[in-house]
Symmetry: C2
Subunit: 353 residues, 2 copies
DNA sequence: GTGAAAGCGCTAACAG
DNA sequence: CTGTTAGCGCTTTCAC
């Protein structure tokens, strides 16, 4: 393992020799402007540029332990809800001089744990978009590296979340104004904190409004999960031969309105309902959550709860960067961002019984 | 910078001391099974586990230079077309024991260059999903690190691409069968290789079929780009006060069929066309490319060219991993994967003039 | 089979 | 302001 001269890429030793200075001077000139005389500094920069010198990041990180990299972990990259989150995070990271790497765990807590375990020593911090881990597991990693969570509140871990309570209130009131009394919550993954909070908020608000509230699921937070939910949302009359499925009568929805954990589920439910011959919103109103790309081009266009996703990503990364820098400006309590109900065409008054 | 005892995480020195062996033995026991006696090896593993020892990846990478990480660069993470590509790549990477990190460059060649420059020393290889760089720039990086490109053919750089020629032929023949004679290609980014190839293929096939072919654009490969294209696709009659826009007559499409660079553009075009009062497919047929999530839930459901995206990602990563491993099984020529036309509802016979 | 020791390339005391 | 010198934690010869 003797240092091979001229083999491959130049190091500070090479440019030091070329300039007739010590390697440490090169290091200083290149990374601590001002700690070296202008003349030598300039010469070093020139020679370095001429030789095509570029610091070996691995070597640079070893002594300091800092990689200027943070990782954003999303539970399912195939969910458009993350686009704005990612964009916001990227922008904030770039602004702070950090490289953002993205990791997708495909809804698997095991993969999430693996990824974090593998990365914990090589990144400066973690931003979790929608963790599927237990609070304890999250806290364990948070003790080893700065971390901020989104859509999730865990004791002792800074977080930024959309205002689910307020959002659910808006959605429920919208339905109430339309005249609905029976609403069904279509649940997403049990490991999802947002799922729990949304259901809890909806139930609370629903009781105040005098709704008959129920929950079905959990379902995968995907379009096909929505189809499955749709199947569970209808009953079939007993009269046979009426043109429906063999031996069964016409389909009937068991609810007049549904609120789904997310837009994908809502869109799938609309498709499934439509497929059995029901009409949205005439037979059943449906509202989604997230306002994803495409929620405006499905038919009927989806009424949905929009969270400030881009800001969610950006704010999280800003906090994370501050934590890494060691500042103690980090919020002691969750940062709550307002949600907004976007009314489109998938909700309407229930038809008279 | 003296080594601090007991401060923080355990190193091989700590477990070596604890076991009464040399650090090098610990290293061997942990990474080169068989080069250490079974007894000591077992003891070392036990102690390491007990102490919660985990190798410092940074330190491990320094001497070897290998990080067991590859990066997948996509031009725009907000384009659903990448979902399957990413999934395929992830799976192949995981299967080979590599960590895949994802990087989004937001359609910016500058950002792409920056990202690659920053990562070139810290990753073992590059997979470029849809590079916006020049051939020369790509080759420059490819000389420094193993690389494979998708949707792009560059001399001397292994690549895997969908069969654009065959795909465009399918699309054109479909339109011809429907009775179309005038087709307009709605172009995407000029820096996109696929854009160039699709247009060229379409033009060639179109000539064979006796089409009147033209191209408009370039447009941003997004839904709003599609709206812009739609605006360029219609003319307004001169009769005023006919209920259209102030001072203008009814809108008329300048073509009977359009093929768009991608689905986002196609969907935006449908929206824009519909917005001015035209009907798809009655007034104009539109076909997209990619078969993205949501292309089946827009109205009308999009006829589109589907590439084997998941396999695109997986095959690329498999080749990349082989290159990193130093094998020379890498393909000398582009790997071409078949495309498939998915006929839905956005195409129909043109209406009689 | 195991230990000693020399790096990997850079940073950061500590002198001068 | 600049040179000297230890490391960062691990891998890998080279001996024994």
């Amino acid at each position: 393992m003797r240092r091979k001269e001229g083999t491959g890429v130049p190091t500070i030793y090479d440019v030091a020799r070329e300039c007739g200075v010590a390697p440490s001077t090169v290091s200083r000139a290149l990374s601590q402007p001002g700690r070296v005389s202008a003349a030598t500094s300039e010469r070093i920069h020139d020679v370095a540029a001429k030789m095509g010198y570029q610091a070996n990041p691995l070597a640079r990180y070893l002594p300091t332990g800092r990689t200027e990299t943070i990782v954003l972990i999303v539970s399912d990259i195939a969910n458009p809800v993350y686009f704005p989150v990612i964009r916001g995070a990227e922008q904030a990271a770039a602004a702070a001089g950090y490289t953002l790497v993205l990791s997708d765990i495909d809804e698997s807590p095991d993969r999430e744990r693996q990824v974090m375990e593998k990365l914990v020593r090589t990144v400066d911090g973690f931003a979790l978009a929608t963790s599927r881990l237990s609070d304890a597991a999250i806290r364990a990693i948070a003790r080893r590296r700065p971390m901020v969570t989104m859509n999730r509140v865990t004791q002792q871990v800074p977080s930024v979340v959309p205002d689910n309570e307020q959002g659910m209130r808006h959605a429920a009131e919208h339905l109430a104004e339309l005249g609905h009394r029976r609403v069904t919550y279509v649940a997403g993954p049990q490991a999802s904190w947002a799922n729990t909070v949304r259901w809890r908020s909806l139930r609370a608000v629903g009781e105040q409004l005098g709704f008959k509230i129920r929950r079905i699921g959990p379902y995968a937070p995907t379009v096909s999960g929505g189809w499955a939910a749709a199947a569970d949302l209808v009953t079939w009359g007993q009269r046979s031969g009426s043109g429906g499925r063999a031996g069964t009568g016409a389909p009937r929805a068991t609810t007049t309105a549904v609120i789904a954990y997310n837009d994908l589920l809502a869109i799938g439910a609309i498709q499934g309902l439509t497929d059995v011959g029901l009409t949205v919103p005439r037979d059943v109103s449906v509202v989604g959550c997230d306002n994803i790309l495409g929620s405006d081009w499905c038919t009927p266009a989806l009424t949905t709860l929009a969270a400030p996703l881009r800001e969610l990503g950006a704010a999280s990364v800003r906090h994370l960067v501050a934590m890494i820098a060691g500042s103690d400006t980090r919020p002691r309590r969750p940062v709550v961002l307002p949600s907004q109900l976007i009314v489109r065409e998938s909700t309407a008054a229930p038809r008279p019984a």
